[in-house]
């Protein structure tokens, strides 16, 4: 069954976590892109984490979504990471060389100042 792409926000300390669920293709990425950007603009967190643990499918549109949020976060001086990709999602991230561009964390995320965030 098709799982609509959705995003759920959690804030902990100064870090905003956007937990993405469902299928992150072009259709799905378009649905959640603006929502994440809006949340960042209103919350103004010190760090942004995209939690990918509940992503059931991802293609290059997901790579575009991640890189787009990464460059916006960098412009705003925020730290950025993606967390807990499934094996399938990790394969796409690796093939796209994302491990060399953005921080990929597994388990609980701690931002640069060591504050427990998620």
């Amino acid at each position: 069954m098709k799982e609509e792409c959705k995003v759920i926000f959690r804030t902990s300390g100064d870090v905003l976590t956007a937990a993405i669920t469902g299928e992150v293709d072009h259709h799905g990425a378009r649905r959640i892109r603006a929502k994440i950007d809006e949340e960042v603009m209103t919350e103004r967190p010190r760090g942004l984490v995209l939690d990918l643990s509940r992503v059931s499918f991802m293609d290059s549109s997901g790579i575009g979504l991640i890189l787009g949020r990464f460059s916006k976060a960098s412009e705003m001086g925020m730290s950025f990471a993606v967390s807990n990709p499934s094996d399938g999602t990790k394969k796409i991230l690796d093939l796209a060389g994302m491990d060399r561009i953005v921080r990929i964390v597994c388990g609980k995320y701690r931002d640069e100042r060591g504050e427990k965030a998620v």
Binding site: K2, E23, D25, H26, H27, A29, R30, R33, F57, D59, S60, S61, I63, G64, L65, L67, G68, G88, K91, I92, L95, A96
Partner: protein, 150 residues
């Protein structure tokens, strides 16, 4: 060498609504499932189909809705041939377009990795295109042998 025979085939045509990207993945994977691919093989095929169909949607039919035709053939040597065709704007220089990171995306949300992912997930990828006429993507993958059952 033994000639391989086509044992089953299907063809479907979908309008280029973005919601049909997941429909295309589901249709192709349901059809290919009769060859009993592994979970990883099916994931690879789903992603490859998604890339080709998305390209037709966002590049081929930029700002318009057109038909995308998807053809799948299954062969007795456990190989799969998938064709994705559009009658959209076409590609000026296919060789350049296939290079990693090349994109003509105007809004900066595409990474130019679609063709590269297809090349990694499938055994072969062939792209034929004429500017103003459309694009045809043919990709093939041979599935691993079925485990021997007693």
């Amino acid at each position: 060498m033994k000639k391989k025979n086509c044992i089953n085939s299907m063809r479907v045509s979908l309008p280029s609504f973005s919601v049909n990207e997941s429909a295309a993945r589901a249709i192709v994977s349901a059809f290919v499932a009769q060859l009993n691919p592994t979970f990883d093989e099916l994931s690879d095929i789903k992603c490859a189909v998604s890339e080709a169909v998305t390209n037709s949607t966002v590049h081929g039919y930029r700002n318009v809705i057109g038909q995308i035709t998807i053809g799948v053939r299954l062969f007795d040597d456990r190989s799969v041939r998938i064709e994705v065709k559009d009658k959209g704007r076409g590609i000026e220089d296919v060789e350049v377009a296939m290079q990693p990171l090349f994109t003509t995306d105007p809004d900066g949300e595409r990474s130019g990795m679609g063709f590269t992912l297809i090349e990694n997930f499938m055994d072969t990828l062939a792209v034929k295109s004429k500017p103003g006429r459309g694009t045809r993507v043919v990709m093939k993958k041979k599935l691993s042998a079925l485990p021997v059952t007693r």
